[in-house]
Amino acid sequence: MNKMEKALAELGTMDELSARKSSIHSLHAGAKLLVTVAYIVIVMSFHKYDLSGLIPMLLWPVLLFQISGIPVRTCFYKLRIVLPLVMAVGLFNPFFDREIILRVGSLSVSGGVISMLTLMLKGVLCLMASFLLVATTPFDRICAALRAVHFPKTLVTLLLLTYRYVGVLTRELAVMTEAYHLRAPGQKGIHISAWGSFLGQLLLRSMDRAQEIYAAMLLRGYDREFRYAAERRFAMKDVAYTLIGVSLFLLLRFVNVSGLLGSLFVR
């Protein structure tokens, strides 16, 4: 399977997950968007040594994964892209920050190790939060929510249209690449003699296609505004979800729950 087919499969998986039914799926997209943003901002705001304070934040995505029935494996498959960069930046911390800030028995842990672990955990938590948003909310619902908070309509329409065509054009390029490799066996990528024409051909055809798309949009009554099927109102459960989420995050941010729990057992 080449890169493009993999990307298509990933897109398909996300579409399929977001079309499922669960109590998380049925929440208003705006509420989920708000809570996700609050979650990420609060996770980001933890101090670089505050690993024990950050760990309880893990409970929220775990809870959401369980309630919504989204497989965790799909989420961690995506980590392969994020973690290398975070690791690359974080890996230097143990070398530059050698001050010992924690001793457990005879084992001493330096600040750099703690900050590296915090950095990685933050990376994983933020990724889980945005993954859960997209996996439990169809993309057009997210766009409708963005539009409801007066996000510019050009940008929202562009997002929706591009999202549609990403699938179409990726499939087309996957077929082209496959055809090219069948005619040029044993060759790793596109040869220099075809650098321009390979994508150029598709580019020209796509530009023409865009004109046809516009004509089709006009024929169906496009008047510079996308109409959505009546969006459900913000219900009681959406308000409750938002309030519980945000206040829980604030609580966890300002009270070190790990420390408190631990102090019950360790003196």
Binding site: S130, T154, Y165, E172, L173, I190
Partner: protein, 352 residues
């Protein structure tokens, strides 16, 4: 070059959102003035094409490796900088949401690093002056030379700016302990090589479009080529090679003027400072690190229970050990949640 959320402090992420948001606002405003609604599907299809096109591997002759094309330059050459910028925003948003390539909060920074430089700096400072200029003389061949030159220069320079911004944003966030100078010395040369290859591929695609449908490329009409006389491609390439070498060599010298940037940054030489090496005003850098210090001290004051976070508290071992025990309890709670969830799901599938 996509940054993850974990690498940014909320203040930096917020500031980058404001900066990118302003640029997006200006672009939207200008597009509205142009009043070309038929451009919208064109932008969407081009964005989707660039998204997919970045996954193609181009074999670089003579080496075993492969390169990718540079989205920002291609889009602004075809659509103009404003429409190109908006299309890049959409690409980055989709990459972030569906492929976890870059974080949701870091999106503002990513837009700035990859779309702003590529579209606005790349177009106004590099693409337009070169295409409308008089390099290589008149004629179709010369114009093609200018397209190649503008693509390569544009990709190299905008990628350098982007890489430098990544370093600056990460350092200001105070997330990494990697010294500023060392990080710069690490990032810039890598992105110099990437930029060169990206530029070559982008120029190949643009040259193809120029040969078949020249009216699709921005500023080509304004360049008013008489399309008769033809300078030999050989001269064009020779001049171009010289320019690229000059720029490339100069930049990599700038990036690693001290052979061991890491060591140098570690044992810092005050006299030579960052100014001499990074082309940055020493005082300016001082201000920047001052801000970081201040942000750090504010965070220090606002952080609750500082003894968990900071060394030198009265009994760090005791509190930390309780932290570890507490974390273990939290982990246990997570496992219990999973078990309960699994139990209910099994029940559901049985009854269903």
């Amino acid at each position: 070059m996509h940054m993850a959320d974990a690498l940014l402090a909320p203040a930096v992420a917020g500031a980058m959102y404001v900066a990118s948001g302003t640029a997006a606002g200006v672009s939207l405003h200008r597009l509205k003035k142009e009043d070309e609604p038929q451009k919208l599907p064109l932008m969407a299809v081009s964005a989707a094409l660039v998204f997919a096109g970045q996954m193609i591997n181009y074999t670089i002759p003579g080496t075993g490796s492969s390169g990718h094309m540079c989205g920002g330059m291609l889009l602004s050459a075809l659509l103009g900088p404003e429409a190109g910028f908006l299309s890049m925003i959409v690409i980055l948003a989709i990459q972030c949401l569906f492929f976890a390539d870059g974080g949701l909060m870091a999106l503002g920074a990513n837009i700035w690093n990859m779309a702003f430089y590529g579209c606005f700096v790349g177009y106004y400072l590099i693409w337009r002056p070169i295409i409308r200029g008089k390099w290589f003389g008149d004629g179709k061949g010369a114009l093609r030379g200018r397209i190649i030159a503008a693509s390569i220069l544009g990709c190299v320079l905008t990628l350098q700016l982007g890489a430098f911004s990544v370093v600056l944003e990460t350092s200001l966030s105070g997330i990494t302990e990697l010294p500023f100078g060392g990080f710069v010395a690490l990032m810039q040369p890598i992105h110099l090589a990437i930029g060169l290859v990206e530029g070559l591929i982008t120029s190949a695609v643009l040259c193809f479009v120029f040969e078949t449908r020249p009216e699709l490329i921005k500023d080509v009409k304004e360049a008013d080529a008489s399309l008769t006389a033809r300078t030999s491609l050989g001269t064009t390439l020779a001049v171009l090679a010289a320019v690229t070498l000059l720029v490339g060599g100069g930049l990599s010298l700038l990036a690693s003027s001290n052979p061991d940037g890491l060591e140098w940054a570690l044992f810092g030489n005050e006299e030579e400072g960052y100014g001499a090496n990074m082309g940055l005003d020493e005082e300016e850098f001082g201000v920047a690190s001052d801000v970081a210090d201040k942000a750090g001290s504010i965070q220090e004051k606002t952080s609750f229970l500082p003894d968990y976070a900071f060394p030198g508290s009265e009994d760090p071992a005791g509190t930390s050990v309780s932290g570890i025990v507490g974390a273990a309890i939290v982990a246990g709670a997570a496992v219990v949640i999973c078990l309960i969830g699994g139990f209910f799901r099994k029940k559901k599938t049985k009854t269903a």
